[in-house]
């Protein structure tokens, strides 16, 4: 009788434990950051299920703002966009560092991200995947393009593409010898930089075939030869390099723009356990290497580059020597309100003839 009772309790508690552990993780992330095989391994190992929604920085913030931080349990915006979104909309909750296996993270990246995502004394972001924006160039047709402003060379008229977004403003500013990140805190100085960049980009407009929006769009334009030089992400250049050795990513002389995509917890996420499990799982070196192989970008995981394919490493080293790595301009946190100034500038460039 007693053993029967005890075993019932054990079975019941075991059942309730699995019930408490098995959660659905609603992940809001970028394309390639949650490959099928990684999800399958994670689900087999932990019992959680994962639902992936792919998005980009702006849409992630817009989605979470619409629900006051609900609807998703884990999101992956870039580290420079977290504090301003938190200040304006309060859509995230702080990271509980005691639940994160911190020694899986490269210490310098962990502390840099923590510093950049601290709002009112609490840390909101953990680093995951990093990469850069720079130039993707068809070296056979536009071998001279070494810097952002080279895209405005008259020889390339109608064969150039870039996005009409903030990275373009910042890249061109650096290329023109300005320092936009240093002016982040000074609205007047920043507006002055924006005005100079606006003049440059308006003058450059006849060179542009079209402003691209999505990663696939720019890859198609480059692959077909309709565009020979562009400002784009490093991974796009390396993927194209696999098909056509002439096309590759070039780290601009003024410096590639470095971004780090993070993990953040939406304020009203319901599956924190699953979210922390996912973070600790994907930061394991073997899993991090799998993600690098699909996404094309390296991660902040210690030893995560060991399992990365030799091809990708070769392309990375071809684009970045040590000097180029040292010259990467890492995005500092964007102060709230700065984007309104940039938006007005971008609108004027778009409307200019």
């Amino acid at each position: 009788m007693k053993t029967a009772f005890v075993s019932t309790v054990v079975v019941a508690s075991a059942l309730s434990m699995t019930a408490a552990q098995a959660e659905t993780l609603r992940l809001l992330t970028w394309g390639g950051y949650a490959p099928e095989e990684v999800i399958a391994m994670f689900e087999a190992e932990t019992g959680h299920t994962v639902e992936v929604t792919t998005s980009n920085n702006e849409e992630m913030i817009a989605k979470l703002r619409a629900t006051n931080g609900g609807g998703f349990d884990l999101a992956q915006p870039s580290q420079d966009r977290i504090t301003s979104a938190q200040e304006e909309f309060g859509i995230y909750k702080p990271i509980d560092m005691s639940r994160v296996t911190a020694d899986q993270f490269i210490p310098s990246m962990l502390s840099a991200t923590a510093a950049n995502t601290t709002f009112e004394g609490e840390v909101f972001g953990l680093p995951h995947v990093w990469g850069t924006s720079g130039l993707v160039v068809n070296t056979a047709m536009a071998g001279d393009v070494q810097d952002y402003v080279d895209l405005c060379d008259a020889a390339l008229a109608g064969k150039v593409s870039y996005r009409l977004k903030r990275p373009t403003l910042i890249g061109f500013a650096y290329s023109m010898g300005l320092d936009p990140f240093a002016a982040y805190g000074d609205t007047a100085a920043y507006q002055d930089i924006l005005d100079q960049v606006e003049a440059k980009l308006t003058e450059c407009k006849p060179n542009v075939k079209t402003y691209w929006d999505g990663g696939d769009e720019i890859k198609n334009l480059l692959r077909s030869g309709e565009v020979v030089a562009s400002m784009a992400w490093d991974t796009g250049g390396w993927q194209l390099n696999a098909d056509n050795p002439d096309i590759t990513f070039v780290a601009p002389e003024a410096g590639a723009l470095g971004w780090i995509d993070t993990f953040v917890l939406p304020a009203r996420g319901r599956a924190d356990d699953a979210a922390y499990d996912w973070i600790n799982f994907v930061m394991r070196p073997d899993v991090a290497a799998m993600i690098t192989n699909t996404a094309g970008n390296f991660t902040a995981a210690v030893g995560g580059d060991a399992g990365v394919s030799a091809d990708l490493k070769a392309r990375y080293q071809g684009s970045f020597d040590q000097a180029a790595i040292d010259n990467i301009k890492w995005y500092p946190p964007v102060p709230a309100g700065l984007e309104a100034l940039e938006g007005a500038t971008l609108d004027r460039i778009n409307a200019a003839n």
Binding site: A85, F89, K165, T210, S224, G343, N350, A351
Partner: protein, 288 residues
């Protein structure tokens, strides 16, 4: 007692449409209006004011984009009418039986795939390395690749293609209801083809023309995909601007004001169109 029951029945039948209107149309618009009249003065601080509407009129870019969108939509509507009317006339008056059904079906087939797929189809045709450019080069008509994409003409092609069905269907319906003997009588009385068209066919088809035009104009004005994908670096479209305000600028307040202005101004254009053509909305929608 019986009148109570019938009244209950009436309200029950009315309930779905009322729910639809209140929950999906009126409430969201009230919400949109409330957002549109709040001005941001700091992080998480808002006050009520008309600043967002003022911004629309103060910044030339905004109202110019709106005017551009409206004018291009009117042009697209006119083009759709010019292209759609002969098609509809042919289907309604010059064919019968199976040919008629087949032709009608052929107009509809492109609409069985989504708008996105249709737009990508146009991108494949029009781009510099696309079908038309390569075809012209193969025929020796041009010496190098030609870019047809990324300009206003491409937008126009896309808009007309996307909306022509919505012009053809009401036109076929109204033209079908025109008695052939009236046309014959017109000719018997010595009227020329143009006179018959002007005096008999077009006046009869007017409600169909107007309702087709209203639908096509609204579809073009509110279209997002086609202008964004086919348009070039100068091709601003007002819906794209609303998207930008909401998503990339995080400026829901201005975006909401834009949305409201789009609603008001497009209603105004339709109202003017009805006045100019001498039609009333109830007659147009009732008869077609």
């Amino acid at each position: 007692m019986s009148s109570d029951a019938s009244r209950l029945g009436f309200y029950l039948l009315l309930a779905p449409i009322l729910l639809w209107l209140v929950v999906l149309i009126i409430l969201p618009h009230v919400g949109l209006f409330v957002v549109s009249i709040s001005e941001k003065i700091g992080p998480r601080e808002y006050e009520i004011g008309m600043g967002n509407y003022a911004a629309f009129f103060q910044e030339p870019l905004f109202w110019r984009t709106f005017a551009r969108t409206a004018i291009m939509s009117i042009l697209a509507t006119a083009l759709t009418l010019i292209l759609g009317f002969p098609i509809a006339y042919y289907i309604a008056k010059l064919t019968q039986g199976r040919t008629k059904t087949t032709l009608f079906l052929m107009c509809m087939i492109p609409f069985w795939v989504s708008e996105l797929v249709r737009t990508f189809g146009w991108m494949i045709l029009l781009r510099e390395t696309g079908v038309i450019s390569n075809g012209l080069q193969a025929l020796g008509l041009v010496s190098g690749p030609v870019e047809f994409l990324y300009n206003d003409a491409a937008i126009m092609v896309g808009l007309v293609y996307t909306s022509i069905l919505f012009m053809v269907v009401p036109l076929v319906t109204t033209l079908d209801s025109l008695d052939n003997s009236l046309i014959e009588a017109g000719y018997d009385l010595g009227g020329s083809s143009t006179a018959v068209m002007r005096e008999i066919v077009i006046p009869h088809a007017m409600p169909g023309i107007v309702s087709g035009c209203i639908v096509v104009f609204m579809l073009s004005l509110g279209n997002y995909l086609t202008p964004i994908l086919l348009g070039g670096k100068d091709s601003l479209w007002f819906t794209g601007m609303i998207y930008t305000q909401f998503i990339t600028r995080f400026n829901w307040e201005l975006g909401s004001a834009f949305g409201f202005l789009l609603l008001i101004l497009s209603s105004l254009v339709v109202f003017l169109g009805l006045k100019l053509s001498g039609q009333s909305l109830s007659e147009t929608m009732g008869r077609s």
